[in-house]
Amino acid sequence: MLQVTIDGRLHEFQQSVSILHALRSLHIDIPALCYDDRMKPFGGCRLCAVQVNRGPRPVMACDTNISGGMTIETHSPELAEWRRSLLRLLARQYPASAIQQSPDKEFHRLIRAYGLEQECSGAALPELMDDSNPYIHVDMSQCISCYRCVRICGEVQGQFVWQVWNRGDATRIRPDSGTNLRESSCVSCGACVDTCPTGALEDKSVLSLGTPTDWTRTTCAYCGTGCEMNVGTRGGQIVEIKPALDAPVNHGHLCVKGRYAFDYVRAEDRVTQPMIRSGGAWKAASWEEAIAFTAEALGRIAAQHGLSSVGVLGSARATNEENYLAQKFARVVLGTNNIDCCARVCHTPTAAAMKLMLGAGAATNSFDDIETARTILVCGANATENHPIAGARIKQAALRGARLIVIDPRKIELTQYAALHLQLRPGTNVALLNAMACTIVEENLCDLAFLKERVSGFQEFNNFIRSWSAEKAASLCGLEPAEIRAAARAYAMEKPAMCIHGLGVTEHVQGTEGVMCLVNLALLTGNIGKPGAGINPLRGQNNVQGAAHMGCDPGILTGSISLRDGHDLFSRVWRTPVPTQKGLSMLGMLDAAADGRFKALWAIGYDIYLTNANAQATRRALQRLELIVIQDMFLNETAREFGHVFLPAASSFEKTGTFMNAERRIQLVRKAIEPIGASRSDWEIICDLARAMGKGKSFSYSSPEDIWEEIRTVWNAGAGISYKRLESGGLQWPCPAEDHPGTKVLHAIAFSLGTQAALRMIEHRPPSETPNEEYPFILNTGRTLYHFNAGTMTLRTSNKLLRPRDCLDISTEDARRLESSNGKSVRICSRYGQAVLPIKIEDSVRPGELFATFHTPEVFLNNVTSPHRDNYVGTPEYKVTAVRIERA
C-alpha cells in the first residue's frame, strides 16, 4: 500500500502507477494533451506538470510513477501560470474558427477553461487541408504537434503512416506519401482521428451529419475478432463509431470496416418491406401475407415430399439467440435436422478436428495471449486484412520481439515482420506440418513431461512421422529443408508458442486434417493448455462461432452436443422429441436439391449462390427448389436469381442479443437505432413463422434475453453467463456458474475429452488440382481489408472507393509473359467456369500462382472455383483451382 498526499489529502494506492493514472482514478483533472492510455507516455505537451515533494522543477505526471510518501501538488498558482503560458503559445498558432466549430474537442475545452479564446490567432490554411480519404478530414492548421496520430499509427495500428517532418516550430505532420492521405499507406482504421485532441483529424461523417447526441456500446458486426465499439447517433441516425477504450479484445482500436463501414444500414437499395415473387417479379407484401405464404408453402412441401425435403440455414451475422431459434425451428417446427450455417464453408474443419482431438471445437486461448507468446505461428491467415485488430496486435508483438513465423503461399503483410516466411505451394500444408513434427521428434525437441502426462499414441506416431523428413516435404512444398527445420525449432524451443490459423488451413480438401496436424505440433511441444500457446482459429464472421455452437449444424445440438447425447435433455426442454437422424449439411442440401430430393430452403443472412465454390453446381441445385425463402437486408444474388419470398431483416445496429467471438467470448449487441422501414429482427421473424405453423407455444419469447435464459438451461458451459453479467464486459465459456469468471485458456489441466489427447497420423494427399498445359495457373481465393466476404455490407459503403473491384493478383513475371499490364481485364477459365476481372501486378504471389477475391457479383469468381471438398466435413476447396488466362 502506497500512501501519497495529493493537494493536501492523503490517498492510498495498491500499486505504483503513473501520477496521471493516480489523479484520474481520483477524478482530479489536469490537462495532458499528448497523453492517451493506448500509447506510451511521450512527455511533449508538458501540460501535465505537477510539483512533487516541493522539488525545484515540476515533473510530468504522465511519465512519473507515484511512490510511498510522495507529496503532489496539482493546481498551485505557479502550475496554473505555466500551463496557461503553454496553452497560450499553442493558441497563438490556432485558428479561432476551429474552436467555434467543434467546441467539445479536448484542446478546445482547455482553451475555454483558461479563457484563451481571444488569443487564438492562427490562420486556417487551405494548403494544410486534405480531403482525399473518404472517411477522414485532415486540417493541419489545427495541429498542435502532440504526435498522438503519429504514435497511435505506429504503436497501435503498426502502420507508420503519419511522419514528422522538419524540426522546431517548422515541424509538420504529413502522411508517408508526402502528398495526401489517399496516396499514403493509410488503412483508414481511424485510430488517429480517434486520438486527435483537436480538429486536425476528424471523421467526415461528423462534419456532414453533426456530432452524436447519444452513444450505444455494442459489438462489431464484421469479423470474428469481436471488437466492442460505441455507436454515436443523432436524430436516430448513426453518425460516428468509436472504439470502446476498455474493450478486452480491441483495447480501444477498430479497423476500417468496424469504424467506418456502417452506411449500408441506410443504403438506398436496402429492402425494408417483405416481398413475394409472383410471375417472375417481386411484389411488396405485408408481414402477415409474407409469413402466411411462407408457412403454407413450407408446410405443404414438407407434407408432400417428407421432412427431409426442407431445411434452414442459420446466419453467422445473426445473434446467438437467433441462431438458437433457427435450429430449434428446424428441429421443432419442421421436424428435421436439416440445419446448417456458413461455418460449413470456413471453420467447420477446425471445429471438427479440435473437437475430435481435444474435445472442444473452439480456440484454446485468447487474443490477449498474443502479447504473452514468444513465438507466434500464423498459418494460412492474412490477419492484417481479414482480422485487422488481431493482425495489429500480432504486428505489435513482433515489433516488441516475439518471433513470428508465417506459413502462407503469399507474401502477406505479416511476412514483413516475420522471422521466417514459409512460402509453400498451395495445398501442401499437411506435408509441411508433418515435416515440422518430424524435425521436433528427430531433434528431441518434444516436451517429454507433457507427452508422458497428457498425450497418447506417441509410439506409433513416432514411427509414422520419421518418414516425413524436411527434405521430403521441402520438394513437395517448394521450400528449403532448412527453413522447415528452423520453423520447427522456433515453435518447439521459443515457448510459449501460439498457433493462429485461418482459412488457408481449412478451405482445402485436407482442411480438417491440416488442423489435426497443427494440433499434433501443439501436443508434441506442450504448447497447449497454457497462456501464450494453443491452437487458435481466426473465425471469419462476427458470430460464426456462435451460429454453429448454438446448433446450426445437422449433427450437433446447442453447446456442441451430439444428437444422441443431447436427445433427452433437448426433447424435455423443447417438449417435443428431437429428430434423431442426422440432417443434411448445406452442401448436402444442395446435392439433394440437384437430385430432386430436397425442395425448400430458408436462408437467413447467407448469400449461398455468390459465396459457394463452384457456382454452376449451386445454380443447378437452387434452380430445382420449389421454395427459397431469403431473410436478409438486401436482395442478394441468391434472392435475385432464385428467391420466392423475401423477409427484410434488421441490422445488428437495430436489435439486441449476443455474439460469440473467435476466443469464445459472449458479448452484448445493443440496439442503437430503430429498424429501418418494416424490417424486423431475425428472432421476431422466426417466432412469427413458428406461430404461423402452429408451434407458437414453443416460440413465445418476450425478448432476446428470454431466449438466452432458455439457452442457459440447455448449454452447461454457458449456464453462468447472464445478460446482467455481460453488462460489464464479455465472458468466455466455459462459464458453468454465475460465480465462475469464465475461461481464458482451455485444456489447462485436462482435455475436455479426458486427461490425454491422441496424436493423429495424417498422410499427405496431393492437391486436388495441379497445373497442366491447359490450366497452367493455380488460383487461390480470399478476402481483403476493405471488403467483407460477399461484400453485401462493405460494397454499400465508401469502402468501395478504397477498393472498387475484385482483381486478379499476378506476379510481374507472369504478367510480362502474358503481355498484360495493371488494370487490363482478362478472362480466367477453369474446368468449371470462367470470370472476367482486371489484373493487378503483385509480387506477393509467386509465378504460376494467382489470387483473387470473390467480393463482387460483377466478377462472380465462384463460377471458377472447384467442386472438391474436405473428406471429413465437406468444406469446399476454395484455395486450389487450376485455371488458364485468356484475353477478355
Binding site: R57, E81, W82, L86, F160, G168, D169, T171, D176, S185
Partner: protein
Amino acid sequence: MNGKHSSAHIASFYHLFAENNAEQFCRGTACFAARHTNPDRWAKTESDEQRVYCLGKCFAAPASSSDTGRPKMEVRSREPIVLGPIMDGPIRSVAAYTAQGGYRTVEHALKMPREELLGMVELSGLRGRGGAGFPAGKKWRAVAGQPASQKFVVANADEGDPGAYIDRFLVEDDPHRLIEAMSIAGYAIGGNKGYIYLRKEYPQACLVMEQALDEARRNGLLGDRILGNGFSFDIELVVGRGSYVCGEETALLNSIEGNRPEVRLRPPYPSEYGLFGKPTLINNVETFANIPWIVRNGGDAFRRLGFSNSHGTKVLSLNSLFQAPGLYEVDFGIGVRQIVEDLGGGLQTGPIKGVIIGGPLAGIIPPHLFDTRLGFEELAGIGASVGHGGVIAFDGSTSIAELIHHVFDFGAYESCGKCTPCRLGSRSVEQMFRQITGAGHVPIHEQKECVDIVSALAMTSLCGLGTGLAEFARSAMRHYAEELAPCFK
C-alpha cells in the same frame, strides 16, 4: 522493417543532410560576438541561407569553413593530462601514438580485473566534461551492472555548444587516445561495440578519425581479440548531419538508430536502455581523454587535482576577442577573473561586458561576479555553468538585446520541436527581441509575457536546450536589467 517508407522525413530534421561543398560562414556565438571585427564577413554570414552554428574556430572569429588556422595551446594545470600529449603537434598515426606510450594503457587494463578499473574511475571523481558533470564512475558502474549480453560504448563528439572547440582538437590531434579510452571502457563495462558520434561541422576531425580507426583495425588494436587478448572491440564512426540537439545523449542515440533525433523521456536512462535498447555508456570526448591517465596514475592521483567537487583538470577554449585566444588546460578552482585576465589577457576590443562559459545555454557572468571559481557547483551557484568549457567574452559593441536575440534565434532554430515550451516559446522570445533590436522596444505588457514564457521554458522544458535558454535569459534580465529596461515601454 518498413521498406515502403523512405527516410526523407528523418533527413528533413537535419540542416546539413545534403552534401555541400560551398563555403560556410559560422553563426556561432563567438563569431557573433566578434562580428564587428570583420563586418564584411559577417554580412556574408547573415545572408547565407545555409546556417551553421559553430565550426570550432572561435579563436579566429568570425570564421568560415575555408579558414585553416590552429589555436594557441597552453597547459596551466599542475598535470598535463588532456592537452599535454599534443602540445608539440598532432599525433595522428599509430606509430606516433605508440612512440608516446600509447595503447600500452589498454594493454595493461585488459589484464586488470574489471572491478579494479571501475573502482579507479569511481575513485578519481571524474565528472562528465560534456555539460552535465555527472560522475563518470557512476555511469560506468551502472552499465557494467546490467546483465545484458550486448552493451555499447558511445563517444559523444557532437561538440555543438558554440564557443567550444576542445573536443574538435582532441579528435583531430589525438584520435587514438579516444580509441584507446573507449576500448578500456568497453572492457570495463562488458561491451564489444563502440560508436563515435562526430559532428559534420568538423570535416577535418571526421577525416582523421576515419583514418585512425582504419589504422587501428589494421594493427589489431580494434576488431577481434584486440592486442591478441581475448577481448574484442570495434568502433564505428557516425557523422552527424547538422543538429545541435544531437549532442543531448538520448537524441544522439536516436540519431544513430536512424530515428528522429528527439530527446527521450528518462528513466529509463541510457545505462539501462540505451542504443538499440541495450545498456549504453555515453561519455564525451574530453571525459574519455582523461581515462588513460587515470588508469596509468590511479584514481587517487586524479582526485587530488582540482578543488571542491570538481577533480582533475579542465580545458577551456577562449574566443577571438581575447588578447590571447586559444586552448588552456587549467586546474579546477581557477577564478573567472584569472581566466579572463591572466589567460586571455583581457579583450583586444575594449572593456569586457560579460563572459559566457560553457556555451550560450547558460547564464552570463557579469564582471562583478568574476571572483567566482571554476567548479561545477560554484558556477551553478551564480546561474552559470562549466558546460563544455567554451569561454566567450563579449564587449560593448554587443547589446544585451542583440545577444538575447542571437541566442534565442539559435535556440529556436535548433529546437527539436517535441516539447511545447521550446518549440514555440523560444521562437516567441526570438520574435520579441527581433522587434526590439529593430524598432528599439516592444509594448510594456509584453515584458510579463516574456517573463512568463521564460518561466515555462525553465520549468517545463524536456531537455537542457529549453532550460538552458531560460537560464541565459534570466541571467541577462538579472544582471543587465538597466540596459534592458528601455526595451519594454
